[in-house]
Symmetry: C2
Subunit: 338 residues, 2 copies
DNA sequence: GCATCCCGTGAGAGCGCTCTCACTGCCTCG
DNA sequence: CGAGGCAGTGAGAGCGCTCTCACGGGATGC
């Protein structure tokens, strides 16, 4: 409850001895106003510690001045995945420059999703950055169809999607990782793939296959085993691969968590890393440098991607029509496993 | 950009063949409306997939229907402290029940703080839950003075603060921990304290002293060494304590991170836990059960405290005047270090 | 010296909603 | 059978802001 009713533009104008219109001009920073009037208004505003009423403002401008960063994940995952803090940092940085308030929304339940849709459609935010969209989740397209500016991280699986996105160069990164293994002398390179209901899973496998072919190695299904982006999944996949390809000497894991599982399985099998088998992961998660031995991995510029997502969203909000997807370059971080 | 202009109450009313007032009544769920009119309005609204314009609504109701959960921390700390996900979960749960949208705001820089104040004062949110307020940070009182309903977690250090808060029973919890050590046979019990610029540091030390006295042990300054709630701080403090009190056989660490440091230092000194020295922490962080050996600790009901914070904030927003602070009970979780 | 320009300003409409007030018509009651 | 009541409805004001439009007056141009 405001102690008294909050000061309005009207009261500022009255105190400054000008009309509401003039006061508005000054506060909007725009247009031609006499220095005298400007100063009077500014003083009045600060004396009353005036803050414009957002509701009134957005009623006419149809802008709220804030955007949502939406994470569709259980709360625990949100806090345990190293990806989110980095995206948040990047997006926050750019939005702060543009004087846009970022609000974070974690959607764990169907009910929360629904509420958020009403929230967004009601004009509470001018747009949304969706991170961690799974499979063919219709949420992004749904919001976009409702006229809400939306961008997302990661290429959508649905080819019909028109939502602009920012993605790491997963194919290129996987090629780099694979090439690195081959160049380090590996002759029997295998891969632990990500989930195939995500685009990222497909792309990292595709890069692996392409690079193999480029070096005259032949790809066959037995060289790839599906993981689920978890440590346990990586371990299980490695065990399966070892059974099928006992002489494997290089492993490309489609993310670092699985790479950690790979290292565990190799250690359990008594295979030295990098002496007997070389391993490369993907993501450059904090865990990568903390692993034993420290993991060679492919870094994606997540902070920059967060910035780019924010920039992109503002472009969509400003109605710049053809917002092209962005593919961010990856780079190899060489540590001890290769 | 909305594809077409969004449907308004006016257009719903027109389609339903009633006046705006009647349409409003139906959608507000209130008052006496004929079944026929009600049904017509409902159908029109759903056909147009009408969502009320929040700006217009809050302009008149002076309510936004959302509240902020504000974390004054660097982004990394926000993601690395196990406290936040739990508070968030609790608050989110209660707010969802009351149909209030929660927005999360992370304030890392002075600039972001300032922006948030304008954001809140502009009426974007109806109130704020502040977690992780440090020392005598004036932010809570500042917001409260500006007429923004505010509640906070943790008792403020400033005795003049009028901001309602939810705190764990830190004194009681510390007493429980200390009593437990004494009852397990410890004769020389020491404590690693939290930072003294936080109320929680004071209180956990106070509980330690009280319980010591209650058992006829005398407290002296050499039995307490200041830590900073970090693992490294806990280790350093333990080394200092060991130098001063070589025959110590019980350590109460004011949080689990420091307790982990205590365990490290004791291991380094070759002192068996719990054989030679018993250790109790505070918080029941995930790390506590993962430590070697698993840590006995004092649990605070953080999820419930999050709920309570949300409930409290809604009470303040609804203008229920005397909102009393809440002190949540703690409980001992016995594991292997005692 | 008179028409033209434009700078600084104020009046006023209107964004979409909520809420009060007044009106109509039907039902109830004396 | 007339007065009162009340359910259902509509008209309209107004929340605080932005933005267009029009207007007075001083400077400029030929």
């Amino acid at each position: 409850m405001p102690s008294a009713s909050a000061p309005t533009l009207e009261s500022v104008a009255a105190r400054a001895g000008v009309s509401r219109a003039t006061a508005g001009r000054v506060l909007a920073g725009s247009a031609r106003v006499s220095p005298a009037a400007r100063e009077a208004v500014l003083r009045a505003a600060s004396e009353l510690s005036y803050v414009p009423n957002q509701a009134a403002r957005s009623l006419v401008t149809r802008r709220s001045g804030s955007v949502a960063l939406v994470v569709v994940e259980p709360v625990e995952r949100f806090f345990n995945d190293s990806y989110f803090p980095l995206v948040l940092t990047g997006a926050q940085a750019l939005l702060a420059e543009r004087e846009v308030q970022l609000v974070l929304v974690v959607l764990s339940t169907a009910r929360e999703r629904e509420r958020f849709e009403r929230y967004a459609r009601g004009g509470h935010v001018d747009g949304a950055i969706l991170v961690s969209v799974h499979g063919r989740d219709p949420l992004p397209q749904h919001l976009a169809d409702a006229g809400i500016p939306v961008v997302m991280s990661g290429q959508p699986l649905d080819p019909a999607s028109t939502v602009p996105y920012v993605s790491a160069d997963n194919v290129g990164g996987a090629r780099t990782a694979t090439r690195h293994l081959i160049e380090r002398g590996c002759r029997r390179v295998v891969t632990v793939t990500g989930p195939m209901d995500m685009r990222v899973g497909h792309d990292r496998l595709a890069g692996f296959r392409e690079e193999l072919r480029a070096h005259g190695h032949r790809f066959s299904a037995k060289l790839a085993e599906g993981g689920d982006f978890t440590v346990a999944g990586g371990r299980a996949a490695t065990e399966a691969l070892l059974a099928r390809v006992p002489d494997l000497d290089g492993v490309f894991a489609a993310n670092d968590l699985m790479a950690a599982g790979v290292l565990q399985a190799l250690a359990a099998a008594g295979l030295a890393v990098p002496g007997r088998v070389r391993v490369v992961g993907f993501d450059d998660a904090p865990l990568a440098s903390a692993a034993t031995p420290p993991l060679t991995t492919v870094r994606q510029p997540v902070v920059e991607m967060g910035r780019e997502l924010a920039r992109m969203l503002l472009a969509v909000i400003d109605g710049e029509p053809p917002v092209a997807p962005v593919v961010a370059p990856t780079s190899l971080v060489q540590r001890a496993t290769s």
